[in-house]
């Protein structure tokens, strides 16, 4: 045995990866935190508020992000993906590809002169496609590192050799079209996977009319729509006409508990629909919401009380039953067609906005990552773990936490992340 490697690689810089990094860093262990996106923050950064306390999501996340970026034991690698893993628990050799940002991180002051001039318009991923961004863009306002990124797929200069406008307007000479991808090789004793989830694309459930009916949107789109830093500045407007919203339907289990798509329960949707309905009412007390559910799953700490409050104080009604389909009327109002459980009769309800609680599915690319890590996935593509060793993957020294192993809410992500940090520390200190 040679010298014990003293560091841990964490893959994924969402709330789980951040928590694992902070715990390990604070234990005095060196951490490499690899995030594929231009900034850490993950899904939690996209949410408006969090249940059941209605804490502003980014407000409670950003101090942790800042701690992470300033921590002497934590090295952030954004735009980075793992490409190869050799060795075994205690002494892995991991190759990481860090994609070129084409912007010098040290020089960019995030003034926005470049993105304002960029002639390219592409859908903004962070805002769930609800607005466009340039090919040079800020991933999001509170992102870390707080610098611009050039998306080379869309940059006119990098694809066709024309433009260079951003370079012309940058007051700091921070643009660098010559930047190359870098290959890093890291020696680590343990690996923690925290790659999170993607929302299921509901357009395959054609009867719900997503993409066909403008006022049928997903939960994640809704989170951006009501978020202060979102595309409407937090004003709840109908996508079709910018009109006022007073009646909202929340459709649960979209792609979840569905043998044609994802047979499992996505765990968090009953509660986030409840939260989203509460937020709508806080934006405008005239809003009434209808949540169409199969079984109301409010088992976590404080959740039943939250639901009771939703019903009592926020004009929210829970209707048991799976929605059959959604159509629209001439005013682009979604019409919800459902079965009324009491009378067993089909019913129709016209609303201003319908929100699909889409399942949580593994992040795209997890399959490839699992192969690189040589860990197994379960039948749904989540990383496989044992019920009684919930943080162990099938490979010793590689641990999993958060939504890459199963859909879970934020506290569960956070505690699993701490747990995975303990497991990694055990490997290093054995």
């Amino acid at each position: 045995m040679g010298e014990k490697p003293g560091s841990v690689l964490i893959i994924g810089g969402g709330v789980a990866g951040i928590q694992a990094a902070l715990d390990l860093g604070n234990m005095g262990i060196r951490v490499h935190l690899a995030e594929r996106a231009p900034s850490i923050g993950g899904r939690m950064a996209q949410l408006d508020k969090t249940f059941p306390t209605n804490d502003c999501s980014i407000c409670i996340l950003s101090p942790k992000m800042a701690d992470c970026s300033r921590h002497p034991n934590i090295t952030l690698h954004t735009l980075s993906e793992v490409t190869n893993v050799l060795g075994q628990a205690g002494s892995f050799k991991v190759s990481v590809r860090k994609r070129a940002r084409f912007v010098k991180e040290k020089d960019c002051i995030n003034c926005g002169a470049c993105s304002a001039k960029c002639p390219v318009k592409v859908p903004d991923e962070f805002d769930a496609g609800l607005r466009t961004r340039g090919a040079i863009y800020l991933y999001y306002l509170q992102g870390i590192p707080p610098v611009m990124t050039i998306d080379k797929e869309h940059c006119l200069y990098l694809t066709r050799g024309i433009c260079r406008l951003c370079e012309t307007v940058c007051p700091r000479n921070a643009i660098d079209y010559e930047q190359q991808d870098e290959e890093l090789v890291l020696d680590v004793g343990a690996i923690v996977v925290a790659t999170g989830f993607d929302p299921f694309d509901p357009s395959v459930i054609t009867q719900y009319g997503y993409k066909r009916i403008a006022n049928v949107i997903t939960s994640l789109e809704y989170e951006r729509l009501i978020c202060a830093s979102g595309p409407t500045g937090g004003h709840l407007k109908r996508p079709s006409d910018g009109g006022h919203v007073e009646k909202i339907a929340f459709i649960q289990c979209v792609g979840s508990r569905d043998l044609y798509h994802n047979p499992y329960c996505s765990s968090v949707c009953c509660m986030h629909a409840t939260k989203e309905a509460i937020l709508a009412h806080e934006h405008d007390p005239n809003v009434s919401s209808y949540i169409f559910y199969m079984d109301l799953r409010a088992a976590g700490k404080g959740f039943q009380k939250y639901v009771a409050r939703a019903e009592r104080d926020y004009n929210i009604s829970y209707i048991k039953g799976r929605v059959a389909s959604i159509t629209k009327d001439g005013d682009e109002n979604p019409i919800i067609i459902y079965e009324d459980v009491d009378s067993s009769e089909p019913r129709k309800m016209a609303v201003d906005l319908a929100i699909l609680a889409t399942s949580l599915v593994p992040r795209n690319g997890v399959e490839g990552l699992a192969k690189i890590l040589a860990v197994e996935t379960d039948e749904f593509g989540f990383l496989k773990t044992d019920p009684f060793s919930p943080l162990n993957t099938t490979r010793p020294g590689v641990f999993a936490c958060g939504c890459c192993r199963e859909p879970v809410d934020i506290p569960e992500c956070v505690l699993q992340a701490s747990g995975a940090a303990a497991k990694a520390a055990e490997v290093l200190r054995r």
Binding site: K64, A66, R70, G143, Y264, L296, V408, L415, S418
Partner: protein, 560 residues
């Protein structure tokens, strides 16, 4: 220069997206702040806590030679450490930072009265600036950490947590009040979701704990007193009538929960009407003889007394229903439920399988609860819209998970809160799920909230990690917000010693007579000693009378 007369204060007002900016007139607050005494700089930030905002603070400290920083934003609970460390990084003592909470105290509570809320925010900022002017640098207190954790409770959570800490190289005292380790696991037959024998899991854990030299197991032992503070807790335990004392750095609470005894509900008699826990024993002993079994969910859960869902009962009922079906395929099993809780990727298929295997699910509403009569259960099925009469040989009640009755004593000894249902309350529901608000105290398993074994195990590792963070550092830094005795004024009367709830101040004989001395590491800065001091000899560091009076005068226009 940091004395009052030379104060150069910078005020940063946060929009917090629209959390504040959507309701208050932030530019007006910035303008207002700039005109306050000693303020030399003011600025708004979209998010003061973002990297951009923090950089703006740092630059302003440098460029404007600020020696005090006031942030008017959200809550010190989540953000004070961040802003303090930004000050520290720019060479400013972190206690020259003042937080003004204009989100929770203005924009959130007065959402519909933006103008009045803006005026209130001005008052709060003016008060904050007045206090900031008088702030003094403070030196933080460093304390050594005893390299040992006490884990209270030897169930699956406590054992798992102990093992992880021991595997990280730390000593553990594992306290169990029963005569054997294992907790509730000892009473279970098979475990969902894979029907593993509970006895197998528990004996593996017990074996690993016994083998581990770093874990000192104390069975038939209860905690009787806890004193001290992070890094240095003094715990007294009772074992065989004898008191034993241990010094530990951190404490993990893993005391679990118990199953509610549904006395007086649904004809519970422990024979024909039993709990799921009693059914487990029947199944384990092979003593079940019943052709028709009716299970009733939410017994004692989701009602007026216990409004919460006990989380584990649906899966437990499904598992036992399937075992009954397996042992006796001819048997009929009904599950009367309100909402089936089979969350996540593993559990839903058990619900599906149970239905496919002929387990009958009937949904009842809390307004029309099932009625157990002699040999039959009457239930109104909401989905069919009909009342059904089910003959039974055995009724099984899925009784709630409830907090141990002695949780209150432990909570009092630890000085930590419990919620209205008796479960321990963590520091922050979202982001600090296994920490107590008091440093060095952690929590896992059903003492926190009902959870299943997999979740208990995750939480146990989490508590181990959080505990390891403190033990690994070897030293902790405590806030110097503690009391301070003016030895000239102290008469040594000892009233402070009597008033202190933390045994953090005591009168000592000195060359100059009897004088009160503060035990800095134990002092929590509550101010009880100072408030009761007849000589007014005791003041609070960082919350001096002078600072507080200045704050009040700033509000009232003076005169106090």
């Amino acid at each position: 220069m940091v004395e009052g007369s030379d104060a150069r204060i910078g005020v940063f007002v946060c929009h917090c997206g629209t959390n504040i900016g959507g309701f208050l007139d932030v530019p007006d607050l910035v303008e207002y702040s700039r005109r306050l005494p000693n303020v030399v700089y003011s600025k708004d930030n979209l998010y003061t806590c973002s990297d951009t905002g923090l950089t703006e603070i740092k630059n302003a400290i440098k460029e404007n030679e600020l020696n005090r920083v006031v942030v008017a934003a959200c809550t010190p609970r989540t953000h004070e450490p961040l802003f303090r460390s930004v000050c520290r990084e720019e060479g400013l003592n972190p206690y020259l930072f003042e937080f003004v909470n204009i989100r929770d105290q203005c924009s959130w509570v007065h959402m519909r009265e933006g103008e009045a809320a803006t005026e209130k925010a001005k008052d709060l900022i003016r008060m904050g600036v007045a206090r900031a002017t008088l702030l003094k640098p403070q030196e933080e207190i460093e304390i050594d950490v005893t390299q040992c954790t006490m884990v209270i409770g030897g169930g699956v959570a406590g054992m798992t947590c102990s093992l992880s800490l021991a595997n990280q190289g730390f000593d553990v005292k594992l306290i169990e009040r029963e005569s054997q380790l294992g907790g509730l696991l000892n009473s279970l037959h098979k475990l969902y979701p894979n029907n593993e024998d509970a006895s197998r899991l528990v004996s593996k854990l017990k074996g690993d704990v016994k083998k581990n030299k770093r874990i000192d197991v104390l069975i038939s032992t209860t905690v009787s007193n806890i004193e001290g503070f992070v890094g240095n807790y003094d715990v007294t335990v009772k074992h065989g009538g004898e008191d034993e004392h241990y010094k530990v750095g951190t404490i993990v609470v893993a005391t679990g929960a118990e199953v509610y005894r549904p006395e007086g509900l649904y004809g519970y008699d422990g024979e024909n009407v039993v709990t799921q826990l009693e059914l487990e024993q029947l199944l384990r002993d092979g003593g079940l003889e019943a052709n028709s079994v009716v299970m009733i969910q939410c017994v004692g859960s989701r009602d007026r007394d216990r409004p919460y869902c006990s989380k584990i009962c649906c899966m437990n009922a499904l598992k036992n229903a399937m075992i009954i079906k397996e042992v006796n395929p001819e048997s009929q099993v009904y599950i009367l439920y309100r909402d089936i809780q089979t969350h996540g990727t593993r559990y839903e298929e058990h619900y599906r399988e149970a239905r496919e295997n002929g387990v009958v699910f009937l949904k009842y509403s809390p307004e029309r609860q099932p009625v157990v009569e002699d040999g039959t259960v009457r239930v109104f099925d909401e989905l069919l819209g009909e009342e059904l009469i089910l003959p039974f040989d055995l009724v099984v009640l899925s009784a709630a998970m409830v907090a141990h009755p002695d949780v209150k004593d432990l909570a009092q000894m630890l000085k930590v809160p419990v919620d209205e249902s008796g479960f321990f309350l963590e520091a922050h529901v979202k982001l600090r799920p296994v920490d107590f608000a008091t440093d060095g105290l952690f929590l896992c398993g059903c003492a926190r909230w009902p959870c299943d074994i997999g979740e208990s195990i995750s939480q146990a590792f989490a508590a181990a990690s959080r505990s390891s963070v403190i033990l690994s550092a070897g030293r902790v830094v405590a806030e110097p917000i503690i009391s301070f005795v003016d030895e000239e004024e102290c008469s040594g009367c000892g009233l402070c010693e009597m008033n202190c709830p933390f045994k953090a101040i005591r009168v000592e004989e000195t060359e100059r007579g009897r004088i009160a001395k503060v035990i800095e590491a134990s002092c929590k800065g509550c101010g009880m000693c100072g408030a009761g001091c007849p000589q007014r000899a005791i003041s609070m560091k960082h919350f001096s009378d002078e600072q507080l009076v200045a704050q009040i005068n700033a509000l009232t226009g003076g005169g106090l």
